[in-house]
Symmetry: C2
């Protein structure tokens, strides 16, 4: 048996998210079908970030274990020849048996694109969130800076699993503007379910002047999801890069630490 790591890019528009579902086209099922087609084996694919329906990836990382004689330099091509155009294996490597796309990852980085202008964009509609209202960049920058670091992010989680820790290390959270396009970058060791889109939705309310830019630490202290903003639309979100390597320790068990799902 050989262990593989692969970097996968997809347009999430026509996927029901990463994770396998009956009667829906998921990234996982499409990848597993391609691996079975090329190796004859039915394997389970693990991923670094379980993206929701409609969320894209430029740098999703998967791992799987399979018995095959396909040379490593042909692996990406072999899988791509069994995949549709909206999903591509960018690179495949053979890795040590202990590697796991989720458990071995030290951080995930996402981009969220938000278009603020009068009319939606026909050209960008599949890849950006949209608001017809003006956004206050300064207020949003203040808000992003206020919650960096290791904190309890339960208030941003769509569901909490009893007994599972809700602390994460937010290493990067910033926002820039290019004409009417706002680019949010966010990187953490891991994310709780729904966390990125709730962060962006809450940030939008700050940008619209509906929420105090200094109020986010207090919001986090409530641990109450109902007090945070609405979830931002899926199509603006893209999993950009997953890092592997040294990571800080959080006093969590290995499996608990990476129970993120977005």
């Amino acid at each position: 048996m050989r262990q593989f790591k692969a970097i996968v890019e997809y347009d999430g528009t026509d996927f029901a998210g990463f994770q396998w579902q009956s009667n829906a086209r998921s990234v996982q099922s499409v990848l597993e079908a391609a691996i079975e087609k090329r190796t004859g084996q039915n394997v389970r694919v693990a991923c670094a970030g379980r993206t929701d329906a409609g969320v894209h990836a430029l740098g999703q990382v998967i791992s799987f274990r399979v018995n095959t004689e396909i040379p490593i330099e042909k692996m990406a091509l072999a899988l791509n020849s069994a995949l549709s155009k909206d999903i591509t294996v960018r690179k495949a490597n053979e890795v040590e048996a202990s590697f796991h796309a989720r458990f071995s990852a030290s951080s995930r980085k996402y981009y969220y694109l938000m278009l603020s202008r009068k009319m939606p964009s026909a050209f960008l509609r599949r890849y950006v969130g949209f608001t017809p209202y003006a956004l206050d960049l300064d207020a949003m920058q203040t808000a992003t800076e206020s919650i960096l670091g290791e904190r309890d992010f339960a208030a941003f989680a769509n569901e909490l699993q009893p007994g599972k820790p809700t602390s994460r290390d937010l290493m990067r959270f910033d926002i820039r503007k290019h004409r009417g396009l706002f680019v949010v970058r966010v990187e953490a060791n891991a994310f709780l379910r729904g966390m990125v889109r709730t962060m962006v939705g809450t940030l939008l309310e700050v940008g619209h002047g509906k929420r105090d830019p200094e109020s986010l630490p207090d919001l986090l202290a409530t641990r109450n999801r109902k007090l945070a903003g609405a979830s931002a639309h899926a199509q603006g979100l893209c999993l950009y890069r997953v890092r592997y390597g040294v990571r800080k320790e959080y006093g969590l068990t290995r499996t608990e630490e990476f129970e993120e799902t977005e």
Copy 2:
């Protein structure tokens, strides 16, 4: 009757080009249907650049003449409510009766995006051309600079109409690189049919080392389309902006001057 000018954005993927065709979904027919739905009148829409099938627009300009009481500030919204998501009217203005989207335009500016890397991009596939080969940026820059200015571009035209002039003023033609993404900008008073994609295709051959970067002026001198490069794929091309205002004179008649179709 009132005369309107509108800026239109579209994702060209699911259009058979701008111009009306029987049994195909064209930008023109979709716009004319929306105008008819909102005004009850069947009008003809003129455009600044007749984009081919699959070519996008961020800043196409159209003009039309219609009898309606819709206030100008509601016009874009009214049309958008009758259009599908892959086409948007960004802005509508009321203009003098002599305004014509094509004949009044002084220049058209296009972008061409070309991805050069091992694997195609699932995320960008609808909006970029693709080559698995490396491209020589310096050679391509040399080539672009060599054909600026007013020249006979017949060698780049997919079809020549007898007696029609083939001279155009190429004001801008350059190429930049952002990681694996090459961005070609091209602006001219007007373009011959197929001219932009032939220019890009020829430039690609320079980038691949198959064509001398200094050879483009000689190629133009032949006026022979067969000696130019293959047409670059439609999906990488986008009509970015159309300018109106003072323009240089070319000794052409008004209608002849703007017989561009891309």
